[in-house]
């Protein structure tokens, strides 16, 4: 083991704040992405119905990919020196992005020894990072890939007010979590409202045991983070001593500095409104509410705050704060131009975010709201990329973006359609008709899933 000669501080991977004591030592970029795209060849998907993720639908169109990037999207593209894949009858969308997954931290099989998603020992565990729990051999990654998923955010659970950092991954199963980290994606901070924190800690006879206790917990933490941030900034300007390094406060200060995005588990409309007040008090942005079963009651507030609502199609009734869930939630939000995201929070749901969206399309039609496929597809592509802070590089089929592309054998909102091919950075990562292409996790060796991929 090599001794490190330098002290390095990170706020986000790749952002080095400290300095080495010796100029000739190369800084090991600890925890940084070691993702490498697989080898790809220039490829044109030809003659498909293309949903670009920008709200556009182009029939009988081609998608060209080169050097891991989208080269062009349009009709009758030049195919010289390109591998041509006949996609007639197929639908092509941006790769599916799930903003709320616990794959790897609550993997299959769900044995106690694998239960690594909730550090439920303190209501504020902003110091933990989900990536340090991710087990890359979770067979769920492969099943998600068969569902067209190319990127996903792995979050800590919701037991705590501050659950810790989430991490965005490329869904290319690797040996280590670093192999899968989405290059340069910002970190997320998982926060949780409502029943979970107050139940977990209230049952241990400690704070919080009420919703007002939850709020006091957030505010106290932000006060400490503000102080830490001020002292750190002052020290950088030569005023006073830098405070001792504190993992918890480092993450919270990262939110106040805008480098870390808040992903806030919150069900009830009135609670989301209170969370906006806290964000106002401390000057941070809530990037996305997750679950938001009552988001439809405050579509206007979400729009005003430019906060995404990452939701299920139809989960309701499993707990009191989910009592008012309705299937039209996403439809009402989308109609109000809220950044609407279909998320999974489930190793089953992540395999079919397209079908979850289809449920909303049906429910909306019942009340006369027409949601065409080119609009709904944004819920698990472009809008999800926005919520993860990676929309400049992925989430739509636009020239120059990562060639993360899912090819479906029909309208993705049909229950009968399946992902046929999945490209990640232009490389074929999954092919339903050629199992030799497909990854198999170590855990799945020797099982029925072995030969059948994610059968």
């Amino acid at each position: 083991m090599q001794m490190l000669k330098c002290l390095i501080l990170f706020i986000a991977a790749g952002l080095v704040l400290g300095a080495c004591d010796s100029a000739d030592v190369e800084s090991p970029n600890a925890y940084a992405s070691r993702y490498h795209a697989m080898r790809s060849e220039p490829t044109v998907l030809q003659g498909a119905t293309v949903l670009t993720g920008t709200g556009e639908r182009i029939d009988d169109a081609d998608v060209a990919m080169q050097d891991g990037k989208i080269l062009a999207v349009g009709k009758s593209l030049d195919t010289a020196d390109m591998k041509v894949v006949d996609a007639s009858g197929m639908w092509v969308t941006p790769g599916v992005i799930d903003v709320h997954s616990h794959l790897g931290v609550y993997p299959s099989p769900g044995v106690d020894a694998h239960s690594d998603g909730n550090e439920a020992t303190d209501p504020n565990t902003a110091e933990v990072w989900a990536e340090h729990s991710v087990w890359p051999q979770d067979p769920g990654f492969v099943a998600a890939l068969a569902g067209g998923v190319t990127s996903l955010q792995i979050l800590p659970g919701s037991a705590n007010l501050f659950g810790g950092r989430g991490v965005t991954l490329k869904n290319l199963p690797g040996r280590t979590v670093m192999d899968m980290k989405f290059p340069n994606a910002p970190y997320g901070l998982k926060m949780a409202c409502g029943e979970n924190p107050k139940r977990v800690y209230g049952s241990k006879a400690r704070a919080p045991s009420t919703r007002m206790g939850n709020v006091a917990g957030y505010r106290s933490a932000w006060i400490a983070a503000e102080d830490y941030r001020k002292k750190t900034a002052a020290a950088e300007n030569g005023q006073g001593e830098a405070p001792p390094r504190d993992l918890k406060l480092e993450t919270l200060a990262g939110v106040l500095g805008g480098e870390i995005l808040v992903h806030n588990h919150c069900y009830r409309a009135d609670e989301m409104a209170v969370m906006f007040e806290i964000a106002k008090e401390f000057g941070y942005k809530i990037t996305a509410f997750h679950h938001g079963v009552e988001a439809y009651k405050i579509a206007d507030l979400l729009r005003e705050n430019d906060t995404c609502a990452a939701i299920w199609a139809d989960w309701y009734g499993f707990k009191m704060e989910a009592f008012d869930g309705i299937r039209e939630n996403a439809a009402i939000l989308d109609r109000a131009d809220v950044c609407t995201v279909m998320h999974s929070d489930s190793d089953m749901g992540i395999q079919r975010l397209n079908q979850e969206s289809a449920k909303v399309i049906g429910a909306a039609a019942r009340v006369g709201i027409d949601i065409p496929p080119e609009r709904a597809v944004r819920w698990f592509t472009a809008n999800a990329a926005k919520a993860l802070g990676i929309s400049d590089v992925v989430g739509t089929l636009e020239a120059g973006k990562m060639a993360d592309v899912t090819v479906w054998d029909g309208d993705p909102f049909s229950v009968y359609s399946k992902a046929q091919k999945v490209y990640i950075d232009g490389a074929l990562a999954y092919d339903r008709n050629n199992q030799s292409v497909n990854p198999v996790t170590d855990f799945s060796l020797g099982t029925a899933a072995w030969h059948g991929g994610a059968q």
Binding site: S108, P109, G110, V111, P139, G140, A143, E195, Y296, K297, A299, D300, D314, Y316, G317, F318, K319, M320, F323, D324, G325, I326, R327, E328, I332, A336, D347, M348, Q351, R352, Q355, A358, K359, I361, G362, A363, A365, R366, V367, F413, S414, V415, Y416, S417, K418, F443, S444, T447, A448, A449, G452, A454, Q455
Partner: protein, 433 residues
Amino acid sequence: MKLPSQFYGALLVAFATSASAQTTAITGATVHTVGPQGTLENATIIIDGGRITAVGSGLPVPANATRIDAGGKIITPGLFSPLGQIGLSEVGAVAGTNDATQRGEQFTAGFDVADAFNPRSIVVAISRIDGITRAGITPRAGRSGSEDGQSHVLSGMGSVVHLGDSPENFVKRGAVVIANFGETGSYVAGGSRAAAVQILRAALDDALDYRQNKSAHDRGAWHDYSISTADLDALQSVLNRDAALLFNVERASDISVVLGIAEEYRIRAIVAGGAEAWMVADHLAAANVPVILDGINNLPGDFDRINARLDSAKLLVDAGVTVAFGAAAQTHNARLLTQSAGIAVANGMTWDQALESITLAPASIYGIDSVVGSIEAGKEADLVVWSADPLELTSYPDQVYIQGIAISMQSRQTLLRDRYLNLDAAKPPAFRN
């Protein structure tokens, strides 16, 4: 404790509904009968007294009939949710609204959830407007680490209810007794699935012995049993095949044990869950044991489901096994039955088989396929009129009929929807009623 013996009988209830005097004719529909008549175009369904009296193309409409033009829409039988707690669970995490688990061991097979059924549950209305007209309501085993605490390998009796408006909801009481094998069985039996098998055998042996020696037992002149008299009474209906023994079981080797027990005791067995049932499909078919399949779960959530796969339904049906869906789509999620069926079609099942798996198959598994499950003369008129292909998630019922009555298509969720559909309305939400 003594309970009336008819409490445990497999009781078919006759219906006397307010619709009995009315005749209704639904015309111009594409009818998927799920019966011998197959799919009928431009068909007419005649309903009288809550029952279907005729179905066919070009039927004469009785002069006194109320005529409803289906306008070319699709009609299927009402959907049947075979497992779950509709009417037994209002809010999952609110203990007082949950009646499907009995802590401790006051009862085993004899715990009867039927008296807890609440036809006014919001879950009833939410489920039925999405096409669910019949439901199995089943007790659950207590699980490790939960508030449910310890329970027995046998967790009680399940019943079948209709979700319609007529006051007697029970179609068949005590239709099944639930046995828990696999990891749950291991937990409730003290740490080994082998012990769960032994406990079940002891209970069945006791029930056989009790049947032979009831009078001596009732006089107090007989030896003690492993379970109470109420539980022994409940098991009589299993032994005489009025009720089936429904096993929650996933692993192939455990399913093989189930088949052995079913043969030995000559009982009717049902496999529920059955992640690895496809591996013993031929044996299940030979033993005529049906499977209530999860249908969606393709991951090894635990070691009992290492070989779960999405095309299980096709493999089982091809082998001749009766398959229903519903192990994944339960209670609040019962309305996802169509998604399970649609996914099965995407993975090799035929469309007709898939529709049967959420209508006639569960009715047959519960032994009430002479009453419901298909659109045939003589059966109760549970019908769903669909906007489009019922297995597509973008489709929805336009109207649901239960026992011939057009139900209200309103639920607590439609009320919330309508209240918040337009945020810019003149009045605040609380005043929009």
